[in-house]
């Protein structure tokens, strides 16, 4: 069940029912866009007529081949491209031809955090953009109660209206300690002899919800430090850290964490 964004859900459903070939769902990660779209497509079409791909250029070739054939069991074939804002330029070029002349009975659905990363030529060919937003407090409370999660104000604040983050914070409370640790470093200074927190050491290379959550926590620290009157520039290194680990997922989190801590001195 998807919580919140009732209007966005309705808009997406309408777009899927209408004669629209290229749809983009744009909004912050981990709020339920991909899950909702999968649910709707599972209810509308057969599994054989649905293809889920990632952002690589080989996937774009896979999509072209998939769409060459007519739908097997359903009224249309659908392609779901997740993390479409990570599409490289060659991959976007490969999609451009497809977007210019989409085959009949086809729906290409892009999931993006930010449509600003798409080439303007690709952006202009998207026929319907549906914006999604972080959940309101009321929707988050409904989500928490329905899933029987513990109601924690600190976790609610850190998750920033994203159910995916709430679930992860409940499952791994160490991430909550990361917020406290960063605030402590900003206020009291950094001790280089203390080992890197375990949740940072254990983040794998590549895109992951853990990295997104760490970035979110760093952002919350920056906002809170301003509210608390702590010098803003002390929190900036952590903001830079969060930007790097999400934009360049192959970077070593531990090294950049240490750098942020040393620069916060």
């Amino acid at each position: 069940m998807i919580f919140g964004n009732i209007c966005s859900q309705q808009e997406t459903r309408q777009a899927l029912e209408a004669d629209v070939s290229i749809i983009a769902l744009v909004g912050p990660a981990h709020i339920g866009k991909c899950e909702f779209l999968k649910q709707e497509l599972d209810n509308s079409i057969s599994e054989a007529d649905l293809l889920e791909v990632d952002h690589t250029v080989t996937s774009s070739r896979e999509v072209s081949e998939f769409l060459l054939s007519s739908p097997l069991f359903s009224s249309y074939r659908a392609v779901l491209v997740s993390d479409a804002d990570r599409l490289t330029e060659p991959a976007q070029d490969a999609y451009l031809k497809l977007f210019e002349e989409p085959p009949k009975n086809v729906k290409i659905c892009l999931i993006l955090n930010d449509d600003g990363f798409l080439l303007p030529t690709l952006q202009s060919r998207i026929q319907k953009i549906v914006r999604w937003f972080p959940l309101s407090d009321e929707d988050m409370n409904k989500y928490i109660q329905t899933n029987s999660f513990p109601d924690d104000e600190m976790i609610k604040r850190l998750s920033g209206g994203r159910p995916g983050f709430y679930e992860l914070l409940v499952a791994q409370p160490l991430f909550k300690d990361l917020y406290t640790l960063i605030m402590q470093i900003i206020q009291d200074g950094f001790d280089p002899t203390i080992p890197t927190p375990i949740m940072l050491k254990n983040t794998s290379s590549g895109v992951s919800i853990e990295k997104d959550l760490i970035a979110r926590i760093c952002l919350q620290v920056t906002l809170d430090s301003v509210h608390q009157g702590i010098l803003y520039f002390k929190a900036l290194p952590f903001l830079k850290f969060s930007s790097i680990i999400t934009k360049y997922p192959a970077t070593n989190v531990e090294i950049y964490w240490q750098r942020a801590c040393l620069n916060a001195l």
Partner: protein
């Protein structure tokens, strides 16, 4: 009365070789070896026993801090190889001292040693000495092994040419960024850049080199912070997650080669270069070269002035 030979110094290979040379040149019937830390009592028991046959024995004691009892046999020999402390004893027949070789550009004792080794084997290594040093650094053991190969293949009294050397020696067989880091820590700018160029020749290894340097710089920052707290080497090794032996041999000697400010600045630069490299910016390579030069020069200047930061 039995004889005593003391071997001091920091060049492990030379100390080892001297110990075995002393044992073999003394017309000894049998050689026994002991590690002073753990086998001192065994040495004491065995050295005080006299052989019924009356033969002579050599006892090599490794890692000695204090000279123990001399062996009981009249023609026995004790070869005490010192750990860190410099040993002296009035009874010593000979005291060898193998200080750490300096490897400055204008005073490279390793290269001089290579030439001397060549002379001892009656081959002229003038044309290949520098290349041997660049390839193997301070590893005298490896260099000695290569020189022996060259001595077998070269005519007696002949000059060893680079072509002969290339045919038998694996120059930089398994080159890694560790060689660059070692050169930086030795203050060897030319060697560090030579290794950098060789690595980059194979394929674009910028990311790998940056990652290696980042880890090294970070480790040095942590070591400096730990040393400032005056805790033991074993504890530091435990915190760093490495064996105490490895810490003492490879990490501790490099502590304080750079100032803390320099290391923090270096980490910043390396992280920026890493991001630039991931963005496909070719300038990352130039920045990396500049940083390698800066770190190596700082080490070299520090060693020349004998100062620690």
């Amino acid at each position: 009365m039995s004889a005593l030979i003391i071997i001091n110094g920091e060049e492990e290979f030379l100390k080892e070789r001297a110990a075995f040379d002393e044992a073999s040149s003394s017309l000894i019937d049998s050689v026994y070896q002991y590690i002073a830390d753990s086998e001192l009592n065994k040495y004491r028991d065995e050295s005080q026993m006299l052989l019924l046959s009356g033969g002579s024995r050599a006892f090599i004691l490794w890692g000695v801090e204090d000279i123990p009892e001399l062996p009981a046999g009249e023609s026995d020999l004790l070869i005490a190889v010192a750990q860190k402390k410099v040993l002296t004893d009035a009874r010593a027949k000979r005291i060898h001292n193998f200080q750490k070789f300096k490897t400055f550009d204008d005073n490279n004792q390793v290269v001089k040693w290579i030439l001397d080794e060549g002379n001892a084997l009656n081959i002229d290594l003038n044309d290949v000495a520098r290349a041997l040093f660049v390839s193997h650094g301070r590893s005298l053991r490896k260099i000695s092994s290569e020189i022996k190969k060259l001595a077998v293949l070269s005519p007696s009294g002949g000059i060893v040419t680079p072509e002969i050397a290339k045919s038998v020696i694996c120059f930089s067989a398994e080159l890694t960024p560790r060689d660059i880091v070692d050169s930086i820590c030795d203050g060897q700018v030319t060697r560090a850049l030579a290794f950098y160029d060789k690595l980059q020749d194979r394929t674009d290894e910028t990311g790998w080199i940056i990652a290696y340097l980042q880890r090294h710089v970070l480790q040095q920052i942590r070591v400096q912070a730990l040393l400032a707290r005056k805790i033991s080497d074993n504890q530091i090794a435990s915190i760093l997650g490495i064996h105490p032996f490895m810490y003492r041999k490879t990490v501790a000697p490099r502590a304080n080669l750079w100032s803390n400010e320099s290391l923090v600045c270096s980490l910043d630069v390396l992280c920026s270069l890493d991001v630039a490299h991931k963005q496909g910016d070719d300038c990352a390579k130039f920045g990396l070269e500049a940083e390698i030069i800066r770190l190596a020069e700082e080490t070299k200047n520090g060693k020349r002035h004998g100062s620690s930061n």
